[in-house]
C-alpha cells in the first residue's frame, strides 16, 4: 500500500541526488541537513567535553598543576559556549529536521534552502569562536555570560566572539522560523495542532522562544561591541552607563534560553515513555498547556540569576515567587510521565533507560533550582558549585540524556538498522553512574562554599573534587562508546523491522524502515493519521 509507493518514490529521487561533498554542501533534504546538524553537535560535544576534562583535570587536586588560571577561565567560558550553542542547540535542531516532517506528514521542511543556510552558518561561527584559542590574549575568559566590564577587557578574541555569537544567533533564528512555518503550514490533512506528537509541540514552543529572545542576545552583544570599539556607554559606568543593565538584558535572553535547551527534551521523553510503558501518554493536553506555561513564565523570571547584584525587596519577592511558580507546570509534566508508566507493562530498552534517568535526574536539578530560587538561600549559594551542580543536572542528564534517548529511539527508523542493545545499555549505565559521581558531589562543595570558575581551591574541598573529577573522566570517555554504538549500528547493525518498537505511535513510525529520502511525497491517508494520534 502507501508504503511501497513511497519506497519507489524514494528510489527515484535518490538517483537525482548530488553525490559526494556536493550532496552535503547543497543539501536541501531535511534528513541530510538533520544528519549534518547531529554530526556537528556531536563534534562540538566532544570538543566542549575535552575542555570540561581540562577543567576537571586541573581541579583534581588543590593547587595549580596543569594550566594557568587565565587558560582555565578560557576553558570554562569556551566549554559553556560550545556546549550550549554548539552541542545542545544544534542537536535539537538536527532532531527537529529529521523528525518534524516525518511526524506531521510533510515531504520536507517548508524552507529547504534557508535550512541549508542556517546549518552552514554554524561551522563558520564555531571556526571563528575556536580561532580565539590562538589569538593574542587567548579565548574569552570572562564567563559565557559576557558580563561587562570584564568581557570588554578581552584581547583580540573579543570581536571574534561577538561575531560568532551573531552568526549562531542568526542560524538558530532561521532554523526556528523554518520549524514554525513547517508545523503551521505543512501538516497532513486531518492532523490538527492538538493531534501533533509532543516533540513537534515542544519544538513549536521552543521555536517561538528562539525567535523572541535570540535577537535580544544579538542586541546585547552588539551593545558590547559598540561600547568596546565605538565609544558608546551602554554599560560603561564612566560614561554614564550601567553594567548591571547588561545583566538584565542578558538574562532576559538567558532564562528563556534554558527552556530552549530543555523543552524539546520534554517532547522526546513524552514520546518514549508511552512507547515503552505500552500505554498512551497521560494528560496529552495538559502537557501542551504546561509547556506553553513554562515558556510564558520563562520571560518573567530572569532576575533570579542576579539577586546578589541588588534590587528592591519587591523585585526580589516577585522574581522569587514567579520562579517557584515554574515548578507547577513542570510538576504537571513529571506527574504525567509517572502516571503514564503507572500500571504500564514497562520494558527497559536503552531509550527508555535514558528517559527514566532523565525523569529522576532532571527532577533533582529542578529541586536544586527551587532551592536557588529562595532569595535568602541564594545569597549563600550564588556563584558556588551548588549552582554548577544545579544547571549541569538539568542540562546533562536532562537535555543531553534526552538527545541520546531520542537518537537511540529513532536510529532504527533513520538507518534501518538496530543498534547493539547490550552496548547501548552499557553506555547508559556508564553515563548515568559517571554523571552522578561527577555532579552530585558538587552540591556538597557548593554548600560548603566552594566558588565556581576558580582553578584552585582550599584543601577542605579536595576529597569531593577528586571524586567529581573521577566521575568526569568516566562520563567523558564513556561517550566514545556512544559514537561507537551509533557508528556500528549504521554500518553493520541487524536490519530493523518495519516497526522497531511495536507500540510506538505517530506518523514517523508509519513510514517504511529505513525512512525514505523524501518523507511524505503524498500526504499520509486518514487511517495512518488516525493511528498516529491515538493518545
Amino acid at each position: 500500500m502507501a508504503n511501497t509507493t513511497h519506497a519507489d518514490h524514494a528510489h527515484d529521487h535518490h538517483d537525482h541526488t548530488p553525490k559526494g561533498i556536493k550532496r552535503w554542501l547543497y543539501a536541501t533534504n531535511h534528513k541530510d541537513i538533520g544528519t549534518m546538524y547531529l554530526v556537528f553537535a556531536c563534534a562540538m560535544f566532544f570538543m566542549g567535553g575535552a575542555m570540561a576534562l581540562v577543567i576537571r583535570l586541573e581541579l583534581f587536586q588543590p593547587g595549580l598543576q596543569f594550566v594557568d588560571p587565565g587558560f582555565f577561565n578560557s576553558m570554562t567560558t569556551m566549554h559553556a559556549l560550545l556546549m550550549i550553542f554548539g552541542a545542545v542547540m544544534p542537536a535539537w535542531t538536527g532532531l527537529a529536521n529529521w523528525m518534524v516532517p516525518m511526524q506531521i506528514g510533510a515531504p520536507d521542511m517548508a524552507l529547504p534552502r534557508l535550512n541549508n543556510f542556517s546549518f552552514w552558518l554554524l561551522p563558520f561561527a564555531f571556526t571563528m569562536l575556536l580561532l580565539t584559542l590562538f589569538v593574542p590574549g587567548g579565548s574569552p575568559a570572562g564567563g559565557w555570560t559576557l558580563y561587562p566590564p570584564l568581557s570588554l577587557q578581552a584581547g583580540d578574541s573579543f570581536p571574534l566572539t561577538i561575531f560568532a555569537i551573531h552568526l549562531m544567533g542568526i542560524s538558530s533564528i532561521l532554523g526556528a522560523i523554518n520549524v514554525v512555518v513547517t508545523i503551521m503550514n505543512m501538516r497532513a490533512p486531518g492532523m490538527g495542532l492538538l493531534n501533533m506528537p509532543l516533540f513537534c509541540w515542544t519544538w513549536l514552543i521552543t521555536a517561538y522562544l528562539l525567535i523572541a529572545v535570540m535577537p535580544v542576545l544579538a542586541g546585547a552583544v552588539t551593545m558590547l561591541l559598540t561600547d568596546h570599539f565605538f565609544g558608546t556607554s551602554f554599560f560603561s559606568a564612566a560614561g554614564g552607563g550601567d553594567p548591571v543593565m547588561f545583566q538584565h538584558i542578558f538574562w532576559f535572553f538567558g532564562h528563556p534560553e534554558v527552556y530552549i535547551l530543555i523543552l524539546p527534551a520534554f517532547g522526546v521523553v513524552s514520546e518514549i515513555i508511552p512507547t515503552f510503558s505500552r500505554k498512551p501518554l497521560f494528560g496529552y493536553e495538559s502537557m501542551v498547556y504546561a509547556s506553553a506555561s513554562i515558556a510564558f513564565l520563562s520571560f518573567i523570571v530572569w532576575a533570579h540569576h542576579m539577586f546578589t547584584v541588588g534590587m528592591p525587596l519587591a523585585g526580589q519577592l516577585f522574581f522569587m515567587l514567579s520562579t517557584m511558580l515554574i515548578a507547577v507546570p513542570t510538576g504537571v509534566k513529571v506527574f504525567n510521565w509517572c502516571a503514564t508508566m503507572w500500571k504500564g507493562s514497562i520494558s527497559f530498552e536503552t531509550p527508555m533507560l535514558f528517559s527514566l534517568a532523565f525523569l529522576f535526574l532532571f527532577t533533582i536539578g529542578g529541586f536544586s533550582g527551587l532551592m536557588l530560587a529562595i532569595v535568602p538561600a541564594d545569597f549563600q549559594y550564588h556563584d558556588t558549585y551548588f549552582v554548577v551542580a544545579h544547571f549541569h543536572y538539568v542540562l546533562v542528564p536532562g537535555a543531553v540524556f534526552a538527545i541520546m534517548a531520542g537518537v537511540y529511539y529513532w536510529l532504527p527508523k533513520w538507518c534501518g538498522r538496530m543498534y547493539n542493545e547490550k552496548l547501548g545499555k552499557l553506555h547508559f549505565w556508564l553515563s548515568t553512574i559517571g554523571v552522578n559521581v561527577l555532579f552530585f558531589p558538587q552540591h556538597f562543595l557548593g554548600l560548603a562554599g566552594m566558588p565556581r570558575r576558580i582553578p584552585d581551591y582550599s584543601t577542605q574541598f579536595a576529597d569531593w573534587n577528586m571524586v567529581s573529577s573521577i566521575g568526569a573522566f568516566i562520563f567523558g570517555f564513556s561517550q566514545l562508546l556512544f559514537v561507537y554504538v551509533v557508528w556500528n549500528a549504521v554500518k553493520s547493525g541487524a536490519p530493523a523491522p518495519q516497526r522497531p518498537w511495536d507500540t510506538a505511535r505517530g506518523l514517523d513510525w508509519e513510514l517504511p524502515t529505513p525512512a525514505p529520502y523524501h518523507s511524505w511525497e503524498t500526504p499520509p491517508d486518514a487511517q495512518a493519521v488516525a493511528r498516529g494520534v491515538g493518545h
Binding site: 517548508a110 524552507l111 534557508l114 566590564p149 533564528i173 526556528a176 522560523i177 514554525v180 512555518v181 503551521m184 503550514n185 505543512m186 501538516r187 490533512p189 490538527g192 495542532l193 492538538l194 525567535i211 523572541a212 529572545v213 535570540m214 535577537p215 535580544v216 542576545l217 544579538a218 542586541g219 546585547a220 551593545m223 565609544g231 556607554s233 551602554f234 560603561s236 559606568a237 564612566a238 560614561g239 554614564g240 550601567d242 548591571v244 543593565m245 538584565h248 538584558i249 532576559f252 535572553f253 541588588g310 534590587m311 528592591p312 519587591a314 523585585g315
Partner: protein, 191 residues
C-alpha cells in the same frame, strides 16, 4: 478542528510559507529592537522604583535649605575605589563621619594622577543602601564634571552634602562610594 489549526491548500502553500516567514522575520527584528528598547525602559524602571536613581547623585540638588534635626545622628562612610590598580591614587581624607540630617557638611577626597601624562578622570558615585539614595542631596561634588589632572598633579576635591531629614529612621548608616575612572580616551574623542 478549529480555525487556527487548518493548514493552507497545497496550491497556496508557497505564498503562505513566505507570508509566515516574513511575519516571523518581522517578529525577530522587533525582538532585536526590543533589546535596545530595554535601555530606556531600564532607566524608567530605575526612576520609578527610586532604586537605581544614582544618576541624581551626579547633579546638584537645587534649593537645599538647612533644617537641622539635632536629635538624630547618622553615620556616613566614605569609600574610594579604582577600577584598576597603579595609575591613580584616590582616597577620602576621613573614612566616616557622624552627621545630623538636614545639616550641610563638606568632605574632601584626594586624587593623584600617576598615569605619567595629562589625564581626565570621572568619578561615579553610589550610595548604599539603595533606599537612601533619594535622601542624599549634594550641593557640590567633584563628580559633577570630569576632572582634569596634569601629569603627577594631586588635587583635594570637595563634596558638599546634606541628608534629607525625611530619611527613614531605620537608616542610621549610609555609605557614599566613588569609583574613579580614567576617562581620557573618551573625553579626548569628544574634544
Amino acid at each position: 478542528m478549529d480555525e487556527a489549526s487548518r493548514v493552507p491548500e497545497p496550491q497556496h502553500l508557497e505564498r503562505e510559507n513566505s507570508r509566515l516567514t516574513l511575519k516571523l522575520l518581522g517578529v525577530a527584528l522587533g525582538a532585536f529592537a526590543f533589546g535596545f528598547a530595554l535601555v530606556p525602559l531600564y532607566e524608567v524602571l530605575c526612576e520609578v522604583t527610586g532604586f537605581g536613581n544614582q544618576k541624581d547623585l551626579q547633579h546638584a540638588t537645587a534649593g537645599v535649605v538647612e533644617q537641622i534635626d539635632r536629635d538624630r545622628m547618622v553615620t556616613v562612610e566614605f569609600i574610594a575605589e579604582l577600577p584598576s590598580v597603579g595609575s591613580w591614587e584616590f582616597r577620602p581624607v576621613i573614612s566616616s563621619m557622624k552627621v545630623h540630617p538636614g545639616k550641610l557638611y563638606e568632605m574632601d577626597f584626594v586624587a593623584r594622577n600617576l598615569t605619567g601624562q595629562d589625564s581626565v578622570a570621572q568619578a561615579v558615585p553610589n550610595v548604599a543602601p539603595g533606599k537612601a539614595t533619594a535622601y542624599f542631596r549634594k550641593t557640590e561634588c567633584f563628580c559633577f564634571t570630569p576632572q582634569h589632572f596634569a601629569k603627577g598633579e594631586q588635587k583635594v576635591m570637595p563634596v558638599r552634602f546634606v541628608l534629607d531629614p525625611a530619611l527613614p529612621r531605620h537608616l542610621d548608616r549610609i555609605t557614599l562610594s566613588y569609583v574613579f575612572y580614567d576617562n581620557s580616551t573618551r573625553v579626548g574623542a569628544l574634544n
